[in-house]
Symmetry: C2
Subunit: 383 residues, 2 copies
Amino acid sequence: MVPGGKGLHLSGARFSVLYQLSYPFEKAETIARHICYEQTVEFPEDLIEEGEIKDSLVGKIESLRETGEDTIQAHISYALEVTGMEFTQMLNTLFGNISILPGIRILDIILPEEIMPLYKGPRFGIPGIRNLLQIHERPLVCSALKPLGLSSSELAEQAYQFAAGGLDIIKDDHGITNQIFSPFLERIHRCCDAVQEANSRYGTKTLYFANISGPAKDIFRWAYRAKEAGAGGLLITPGLIGWDVMKTIAEDNSLALPVMAHPAFTGTYVQSKTTGISHEVLYGLLMRLSGADISVFPNYGGRFSFSEKECRNIISGCTKPLLDIRPIFPAPGGGMTTERLSELIDFYGSHFVMLIGGGLHRYSNDLIKNSKHFMTEVIKSVP
Amino acid sequence: MVPGGKGLHLSGARFSVLYQLSYPFEKAETIARHICYEQTVEFPEDLIEEGEIKDSLVGKIESLRETGEDTIQAHISYALEVTGMEFTQMLNTLFGNISILPGIRILDIILPEEIMPLYKGPRFGIPGIRNLLQIHERPLVCSALKPLGLSSSELAEQAYQFAAGGLDIIKDDHGITNQIFSPFLERIHRCCDAVQEANSRYGTKTLYFANISGPAKDIFRWAYRAKEAGAGGLLITPGLIGWDVMKTIAEDNSLALPVMAHPAFTGTYVQSKTTGISHEVLYGLLMRLSGADISVFPNYGGRFSFSEKECRNIISGCTKPLLDIRPIFPAPGGGMTTERLSELIDFYGSHFVMLIGGGLHRYSNDLIKNSKHFMTEVIKSVP
C-alpha cells in the first residue's frame, strides 16, 4: 500500500477528453476506469490508501455513451494539476500510455478557463495573418520552394518569381533544411532578399516562411537567424522536433513570427478509425494549442487519403471556439489545380490557405506568369 | 519544369528502408515509386529536368518482393545527403509524408558505415550499464517511484527502501515531472540523497534515473541539475519531447549519463499491422540511434497488448548488430510478478531490465523486505 495523498491543494479545475472506445458496452466501464488510473497514477487501485489521490487526482469518468456497435464515447476528466502546467505532461495525460492500448481514440478535448496560463495560443491566427498581408476576403495562396537538390540561388529565383507573381506565402519545402545543396543560412538569406526585392519592385506583400525543423541544438538559433534575415514566418514540423519545441518558438516574444505547422511523421495518429487521435484534435486543436497559425494537411481527393468529412473536422478543430485561443488557417495541400478552385472555395469557404506545389510549374516555365494566372483565377473564384 | 540538379557532389553512400506495402502486387511498383519521390523531392517526376536529382537524389527501388496476399516488401534506398546529416531529416526521409498514406509500414532500416558521424549511439549500452552496476550475469531490476500525488519526501522514502532492498535502478514514474505535489528540483535532490544514503549504508549500487521529460525550455537545464544532484541516469520520453532532443541529451559529454527511454505517446506507431513502424524499428533501432541505453516497452501478457513475437522483435532491434552502435537493454514492464520470473528469464535471457511496479508493493508495506525478496527470487531464477 502507498499513502493516499494529503493536502494536495487541488484547485478543482479539470480538463477533459472525449475518448472513443472500440469495445463492447459491458467492457467499456472497465476500460474507462483503466484509463483513469493509467493516465494519472499508473498504479493498482487496491494498493493506494483512501484519500485525495483516489478521490480527485485519478481521472474521473464523467459519462459513458454507446454510439454504435462496440463503440462507446467515454468522457473522462483530469485534475488540471496532473499536467504540472506543462504541455508535454498534458499530452502525456491525454494519450501517453494508452497510445499503446488498442481501441482507444481521442475525439475531442475540453479545456477550462484555468488552463489559459499554459497557452498563449497562436500569436496571429486567422485575423493576425490577414492583417499582416492586408487581405481580408479571399483564401490565401502558398507555394513551396523545391525540389530538394536545387541550389540556394535556384530556390531564391523561385521565391522571387512566386513573390513577383503575387503569391501570399512562400515556404521552404518541409524536407529542405541544411543539406549541402542549399545550406540553411545561405538559403534563408538569399530567399529573404529575393522576396524583399520582388515585394518592393512589384508592390507585393509576400511572406517567406523558413523551415527550421532541424536538430534540437540548432533550432532556436535558426529561428533567430531566420528572423534577422527578414523571414516572414517559420515552417515547423512538430512530429519531428517535438510539440513543445514548436509551442516554445511560437510563443517567443523576441521572435513573434507566424508559424506554419507541417504534419510530417504524424500521419499514423489519424490513420486508424479505432486508435490514435482524431483529425480534428491532431490537426486542429493540438496545432492551435501549440501555437501554429496555419495547419498544413493533405486535402481530400489529392495524393493522400483524407476524406471530405475528415477535412471538415480539421476545419472545425482549427476554427471552433476554444477559450480565448484564436482560430487558425487550415491549409489543405496536394493535387491543387485551377480546375478545382471553385470546388475548394465551396468546401473551405474563404478562410483557408491553399497550398499549391507542382501545379504552379505545369503551365509554363515562367513562374511569375503562372503565379499571376493562378492568383487571378483565385480572385475570380471568390463569390 | 525545374532544373535537374547540377554538381550535387553526392558521395554515393546510401541508407535504405524495408517498407511493407499492403497493396496488390500490380500496384506495388507505383506505390514504391511514389515513396521514392514523396520522401525526397516531393515533386512531380515529369516536371523535373533530367539530371542528378532524378538519377541519384530521388529514392531508388532496390527490390520488390511479394511476401503474402497483398503484402509486398519494398526495399528503397536514399542518398545519405538527403538527411543533411540530421536525425530529424532522417526520420522525415524514412516516414515523414508517407506516415499519412495508408498501407505503408517500416519493417527495417539498413545503415551504411558513412552514417556513423551522425550517431554517437548509446553511450553505455548493455556493457556500459553492466559495468556501472558491476552486475554481469543476471537481468537488472528497476522500479518506479509513484504514484503521482505523493510528496517528494514520500517518493524519496520509497527510493531509500528500494535502494536498501538492492534494486539496480529506480526511476521516477514517467508522469511525474514538476507537479506541485513534488516539484522537480526538490524531488531529485531528496531522491538522489536517499539513494546515496541507502547505497552507503547497505553497500548497494542502485542508480536513480530522474525524469526530465518536461518543457522544451527546461529540459536541458533539468538534465544538468539532475546530474549535479547526483542522479545515476535520466528517464526520457522521446514521443513527448522529440527524438532529437533525447539524442542530443544522450550525446552530451558534460552529462554523460545513461538514458532510459519511455514509450509513452508513441504506441500508435506500432498498433496497426499495415501502417506505422514495426516494434523492432521503433523500440529497438530508433531508440538506439537516438542514444537510449534502455528501451522500456509493455511486456507480452501484461496490461497492454504486445505479442510474444512483437517482444522478440524488440529484443532483436535492441541487440542485433548495427554498425558500431552498442546493443541496449530491452526493458519490458507491466504486470511483473515473482511467479512469472522464470518464464521471463526463459524468454528474454539474462540481458534485459525487468520493470516491476505495483507488484513490489503487494507483498507487504515494507519495501526493503519486498525488494530483497524479489531480488533473491531473481537471483534464484537465473540458470
